[in-house]
């Protein structure tokens, strides 16, 4: 919505003269002036609803009792919010609401003593009162009953007697507790644009449900959990921690599952994650998350299969050992494989600090430049190219997507890879933006895209060239584009792109007509073939559109810390600070920083490492997280796996070291729109679990090396900061990356691209396929 010029309006609320800016509602004006008006269905950022009728007020010259949440302020309004009549009416209305909600405990005299003799009642699995409800203590109804001092209700409870819906793995739905405030329906449609929830039936039979009573999954639910976050009662609640009692602590951290780096609020109780979402008691402005951020973190940390003791493999059996034994065994073995035969596989799903330590260990101690993350882009110049592009074009912030009038999405399946980007794309679409989707397959975005180009993956470069040239041909003429599109309605395909001429013309016309264009380069492009060409063509295409019409390119980096890991030096060609290894000046600088002479030998990428395991290639690997069991791994002389779980690849490892998850460590990530965000240790690691810097420090100590004696992650971060000649702004702000990345980098290993593809079956955490550990997750996988 366009912002109107601010006009000030004078009101009198409860006898108090108040000045507010125009265009607000009475409720907003009152809240701004510190006057409380009770609400139940109201939720900031959603369209005012006016269903619960608790915010009724009296306004002079207006008939009846208008609701504060829906009534816009106008000059000279005289508003009364708490006359005895209003309070009485509110009481009556809330009593009606409660008559359909199991309220016994609210009006029961024994309420306080009850928990002492009700231990077994939860087995009943039927919530008959607050003491039997998972949201007890975190319920807005309870707060209102207290505020309105209701201690008697004239009506018997009308228990709906509906079965609790448990057919999805993430949350339970108990519509017996539902008060039909409509928040879930509205957030699902207005904010998430998922369109899964709706009101069904009418009159006294009104309920929330899905179309035709389908299961959440069949109705297209993406399990973002927004509905669960906003539910004021216990009607919707996460399965995980549902019966553990409400959380008592809450802390913010950053989600690491994709490049968006959403801020997430982790609610805990006694060192256990209860849920992820807004802090207890707060539901407004819910923190936006997707299924991964909302439902996975707790499952990972508290997973029963998680390995918590170091192990050594002897004769095909894993033997639990002490840390001391594991470290000395590892150190002794690594000692034998120093040099270029050693490879380090880091992870783009952990902190910059951990990656820094791992690559420092590789370069300084192991004297090797073979250091890369799992599932690295096949084009090893990709990140440098993007960074160079961003030297002149600052990264597009995710939130700007919804303001654009045209979106050109290339190879994106954001609803699965980057749900919060998809969320903004849907908002843009709802605001009337033109969505051009270029993707080899149909996906959820196809459903509302204005135009879909089904290109052939290997021909994307040609397609982009044609689009670029088309834009170039007749600049600044909008009508010409339309006319030519009309003339050439040819369905004939252009052989070098695989799309028809008409489709191409339409695309060119739509891009030309854009006023605020944003191009989104998705996974299929970044992981696709020939990225050197597609990328440079795309950049020149964007240039052709021109600064006045284009708002830039957003590169959808897939894992949470792609930038951060590369920035920390977890890259075969780049030293920390994105400094090219091939440049002797940089090598010299870092040799000095680390008091070592750095190897000049070109580092191997992830793919090169795993496909060059042989006597004169790679002989030992240190793997952070999990990697697929590539053929040849069995030939390794020594392999350390540092992971949460034992996997197929673990069978080939010699030492297994347990590791901490991202909710247990402190550190930093750099998001895909290049914001620096923090990871916070929310869960205290269990006895006997150590962070990567500690483990590496112990190993180096055994190897008689120095330079790893950090006392805290902050120390590591300030080392990166000072040595990388870069001062980071406060977390959350956009980071300006250093200038000077040279283009002449080692050749590209074109043939070795690894298509990550889309689809939720590819959801991983530090390389571990999520579906294989969170078996419930299979529910949302594509059939």
């Amino acid at each position: 919505m366009r912002k109107q010029r601010t006009t000030y309006i004078n009101l009198i609320i409860d006898g108090k003269p108040v000045q507010v800016s125009g265009g607000q509602t009475v409720l907003e004006a009152a809240r701004q002036s510190g006057i409380y008006i009770p609400t139940l269905c109201h939720l900031e950022n959603l369209i005012p609803y006016g269903g619960c009728r608790l915010c009724i007020v009296e306004i002079e010259k207006m008939r009846g009792f208008p609701t504060a949440c829906t009534t816009p302020v106008s000059d000279g309004m005289v508003i009364k919010t708490k006359t005895p009549e209003i309070q009485q009416l509110r009481k009556e209305i809330l009593a009606l609401t409660l008559s359909e909600h199991p309220y016994t405990c609210l009006v029961c005299k024994e309420n306080n003593e009850c928990p002492e003799y009700m231990f077994s009642t939860r087995k009943v699995n039927r919530t008959t009162g607050c003491n039997f409800c998972s949201s007890n203590g975190d319920c807005e109804l309870q707060d209102l009953v207290e505020y309105l001092e209701i201690n008697e209700i004239d009506y018997p409870i009308d228990y709906r007697g509906l079965p609790v819906i448990k057919d999805n793995p993430f949350y339970e739905i108990d519509y017996n507790l539902c008060i039909l405030c409509g928040r879930c329906v509205r957030i699902c449609n207005e904010e998430r644009n998922s369109g899964v929830l709706a009101f069904v039936q009418r009159g006294k039979s009104t309920l929330v449900g899905t179309a035709f009573g389908e299961s959440q999954k069949d109705a297209g639910c993406e399990f973002c959990g927004a509905c669960v976050d906003v539910c004021p009662t216990g009607s919707l609640s996460e399965k995980m921690g549902r019966w553990v009692s409400p959380p008592d602590k809450s802390a913010e951290t950053t989600c690491i599952f994709c490049g968006e780096g959403c801020t997430m609020n982790v609610n805990t109780r006694g060192n256990r994650i209860i849920n992820v979402g807004p802090p207890p008691g707060e539901r407004t402005n819910p923190i936006q998350l997707c299924v991964r951020g909302k439902f996975i973190p707790g499952d990972i940390v508290h997973h029963p299969d998680r390995i918590k003791t170091p192990m050594i493999q002897r004769n095909g059996n894993w033997i639990e050992v002490t840390w001391d034994e594991a470290i000395s065994h590892t150190a002794a073995n690594l000692e034998r494989y120093r040099g270029n035969q050693f490879g380090m596989i880091g992870s783009a799903m952990t902190s910059m600090e951990e990656n820094y330590i791992l690559q420092k260990f590789t370069r300084k101690v192991m004297r090797s430049n073979n250091t890369d993350v799992y599932n690295a882009y096949s084009n090893r110049n990709l990140l440098s190219t993007i960074c160079n592009y961003h030297l002149v074009n600052p990264p597009v912030e995710i939130d700007r997507i919804s303001d654009s009038d045209t979106l050109f999405l290339i190879g994106t399946d954001a609803s699965e890879s980057h749900p919060m980007v998809e969320n903004r794309i849907r908002k843009a679409s709802r605001n009337g933006a033109t969505i051009i989707l270029a993707h080899p397959d149909s996906n959820r975005t196809t459903g509302f895209a204005s135009h879909h180009l089904h290109y052939k993956p290997e021909l994307l470069g040609n397609l982009l060239e044609l689009v670029r040239d088309g834009i170039k041909k007749s600049p600044h003429s909008e009508t010409a584009g339309v006319a030519s599109a009309k003339h050439q309605k040819s369905k004939k395909r252009i052989p070098e792109t695989g799309i028809s001429k008409a489709d191409l013309e339409t695309t060119i016309r739509l891009i030309k007509n854009a006023g605020r264009l944003i191009i989104v380069a998705g996974e299929r492009m970044l992981h696709g073939p020939d990225t050197q060409k597609t990328l440079s063509t795309l950049i020149s295409l964007e240039k052709e559109v021109g600064k006045n019409k284009s708002n830039g390119i957003l590169f959808l980096l897939d894992e949470g810390n792609r930038y951060g890991s590369a920035f920390s030096g977890m890259h075969p060609d780049l030293l920390p600070g994105l400094m090219s290894l091939s440049d002797p000046v940089n090598r010299e600088k870092w040799s000095e920083n680390w008091s070592v002479v750095l190897s000049e030998i070109r580092g191997m990428s992830y793919r090169e490492m795993v496909s060059n395991i042989r006597e004169d290639g790679i002989t030992s690997l240190y793997v952070t997280g999990d990697i697929p069991p590539h053929p040849g791994l069995e030939n390794l002389k020594f392999m350390v796996q540092q992971n949460l779980f034992l996997t197929e690849t673990s069978k080939l490892a010699h030492v297994f070291l347990p590791v901490l998850t991202f909710t247990e460590i402190s550190g930093h990530v750099l998001t895909m729109d290049r914001k620096l965000k923090e990871l916070k240790p929310i869960i205290q690691p269990e006895e006997g679990l150590y962070s990567v810097p500690k483990i590496i420090a112990s190993i180096t100590r055994r190897m008689q090396e120095t330079g790893f004696e950090y006392t805290s992650p902050e120390e590591i971060f300030s080392e990166i900061e000072s040595f990388a000649d870069l001062s980071f702004p406060a977390p959350g702000k956009m980071v300006q990356l250093p200038i000077g990345i040279k283009d002449e980098l080692p050749e590209v290993d074109e043939s070795l691209f690894l298509l990550n593809g889309s689809g939720r079956e590819k959801y991983r955490y530090i390389g571990n396929p999520i579906a294989s550990y969170m078996s419930d997750f299979k529910v949302i996988l594509n059939d």
Binding site: Y49, G51, I93, T97, K204
Partner: protein, 621 residues
């Protein structure tokens, strides 16, 4: 000659040719009411006869002319004669009439009246309009109903159709609004908001696109004014819409009509097509430069969609749920554009006002309520049907002079549907206008008038209406969704004889909460049937509660049936209808009623001609 004049000429010629037809012409009332009473069968029979005897006879379908109790109505127009009207025709009677007239030019079956200006009406036959039910009516909106073929635009045009529109184009939009202001026309949908003001607000609203919606979601139980009008004269509604759209500057029109009105939908579709064919709808209407088109949107069966904002939501494809006002539809309606919504009758009145002038229209009615109003007169009244009377006509005039009085002793009249109230006999001399009805605790509503006699239980009536609103509540706001349900529960308790006086107090309390707290008109007015019955018939409630008896012998739990031996003639009619064989007895002797078998279906009570079945011996100890 302008293009309209040429259409008009053709129409008049066609209409005249029909009047002066050399062949007999039959007009059959084929509105929903006619069809319900068997007009379909009559139609088939006549056509069969015409075909088998190879007769040169034309037969036309017309809409409902008003007195539904006379349906099926068949008019026979012999060459040179007016239309003779025959009531309650069935297939057999129709065939006989047809053959009699073809053969002899007359029949022994006497018509009840004639229509038109024939020279030689049969001996002493009076005009159809002179019947007691019709004589006190003033037909403005309904002037064409039952007269013209609703599927032939020429009939409408021949009877001065579109003259109003032509005058509107002469006056200009502001002039039209001025004329409507002079007429004093107020919304016929219930609230009675001045129509000109509504138009003016929408006209002054800023917006690239404006919508005009006709609210044809007539859903009040017992109301059928709009349906009959749309079935009998769809053109007047369409003309009214074009005039209204012209006045407010709307380009897009919708008729939001309930899907339960298939015949009205069909006729509107035909009418819209015919308007298009004659360039009276669409781009550049009849060369005026004004463009406007109308689409039909069928409602999915929700009563609440008659509420403006819910109706808009429904048109937008959303669930039909009202939203709070302000903003009003005049500033933000369909897709956020200024939208004007009027009732069918309001819009259909407009062409008449434009044609005859606002002053003429204002000549009818009272000081604040001008013109005429249609009512669906139903219930326990002798002459049922659709009527149109000037505002200010008293209830007594309507019920007794027009309706012929109640079947049994008059008890109450319900006006305004589920949002209205029940008025007792004390109010019979109340003039029917917006203010008087509101003052009495009821509302004008869209025009349903349900007459109740002593056989009706007022608590049961309140329960019926509350059940209706409770089921039709959209479920959005708490007071309406739960409050009406609670009220139904309490009323059920009362009619079951299980209530205490406490419950009546609770009922009053909930009613107040629902009235004050609800979001839209449906909820705010839902308690009216309860509040008015509690006000005017409280003793009935008290009898249910304290004496556990239902004075009207309606509430099953409180009624026991017995045979009054002294009155029973032993005719056995009750024996025949009793579904459980609870009544037995030989012929000509007082019957026996076995209470253990009786299911209190009331069939015996209804059928007894001697008042020998008593439902009033209602003692439950």
């Amino acid at each position: 000659m302008s293009s309209f004049q040429s259409i008009q000429k053709a129409a008049r010629e066609q209409w005249q040719a029909l009047q002066e037809s050399a062949d007999p012409v039959l007009y059959l009332g084929m509105g929903s009411c006619g069809l319900a009473s068997g007009a379909g069968e009559v139609w088939d029979q006549i056509n069969k006869t015409i075909a088998s005897k190879k007769l040169n006879v034309r037969i036309l379908k017309v809409g409902c002319i008003g007195p539904c109790y006379l349906e099926p109505l068949l008019d026979i127009q012999m060459p040179g004669n007016p239309r003779y009207c025959f009531n309650n025709v069935d297939g057999k009677k129709a065939e006989k009439l047809l053959l009699d007239y073809i053969k002899n030019g007359e029949s022994k079956i006497r018509p009840i009246g004639y229509l038109g200006n024939g020279k030689f009406p049969v001996n002493g036959l009076k005009s159809f309009w002179d019947q007691p039910m019709l004589k006190n009516q003033v037909r403005i909106v309904l002037r064409n109903c039952g007269i013209i073929d609703p599927e032939n635009i020429y009939h409408y045009i021949a009877r001065d159709g579109f003259k109003g529109l032509m005058r509107a184009f002469e006056l200009g939009p502001e002039g039209v609004i001025k004329e409507v202001e002079t007429s004093g026309l107020r919304g016929r949908g219930g609230a009675g908001f001045p129509t000109y003001l509504k138009w003016q607000l929408c006209r002054k609203s800023k917006g690239e696109k404006k919508y005009l919606i006709c609210n044809a979601d007539e859903g009040d139980p017992g109301a059928f004014m709009n349906r009959s009008l749309m079935e009998g004269d769809p053109f007047s509604l369409l003309e009214g819409m074009i005039i209204a759209a012209y006045a407010i500057g709307a380009t897009d029109g919708y008729i939001y009509i309930r899907a339960e009105y298939p015949l009205a939908i069909e006729r509107l579709k035909i009418a819209i097509q015919q308007l298009h064919n004659h360039k009276l709808l669409g781009k550049d209407i009849i060369g005026s430069g004004f463009s406007f088109d109308i689409r039909l949107k069928e409602g999915a069966g929700a009563f609440v969609c008659g509420e403006e904002t819910a109706l808009i939501a429904s048109i937008e494809g959303e669930r039909g749920m009202p939203r709070s006002r302000p903003p009003f539809p005049a500033t933000s309606g369909v897709n956020g554009s200024p939208t004007n919504i009027n009732n069918v009758e309001t819009l259909a009145t407009v062409p008449n006002i434009l044609r005859e002038g606002g002053t003429w229209f204002a000549g009818y009615g009272t000081k604040t309520s001008k013109g005429t109003k249609t009512f669906a007169l139903v219930g326990k009244v002798r002459r049922t049907g659709l009527i149109e009377v000037p505002m200010g006509t008293t209830l007594r005039q309507i019920i007794y002079d027009i309706g012929g009085g109640s079947l049994k002793e008059f008890k109450a009249v319900q006006t305004g549907g589920p949002s209205g109230g029940c008025l007792s006999s004390d109010f019979l001399d109340l003039p029917v206008d917006y203010e008087s009805l509101t003052k009495a605790g009821s509302i004008m509503g869209s025009g349903g008038l349900i007459v109740m006699d002593k056989d009706i239980c007022m608590v049961d009536v309140a329960q019926y209406f509350l059940r209706f609103t409770s089921q039709e509540s959209c479920g959005k706001c708490t007071p309406c969704r739960i409050g009406t349900k609670k009220m139904v529960e309490i009323l059920e308790k009362i009619t079951a004889g299980e209530a205490t006086m406490e419950d009546i107090h609770l009922l009053e309390k909930v009613a107040e909460t629902v009235h004050k707290g609800s979001l839209c008109g449906l909820g705010q007015t839902a308690p009216n049937p309860v509040l008015t019955t509690l006000k005017y018939f409280k003793e009935e409630y008290i009898k249910h509660v304290e004496e556990k008896r239902c004075p009207a012998a309606v509430c099953r739990s409180l009624v026991e049936y017995r045979v009054i031996k002294e009155k029973c003639t032993g005719c056995q009619r009750c024996v025949d209808v009793c579904p459980t064989h609870a009544i037995t007895g030989p012929k000509s002797e007082p019957h026996n009623l076995d209470k253990s078998l009786c299911i209190k279906c009331r069939a015996c009570y209804e059928i007894c001609r001697f008042d020998a079945i008593a439902g009033d011996a209602i003692v439950i100890e």
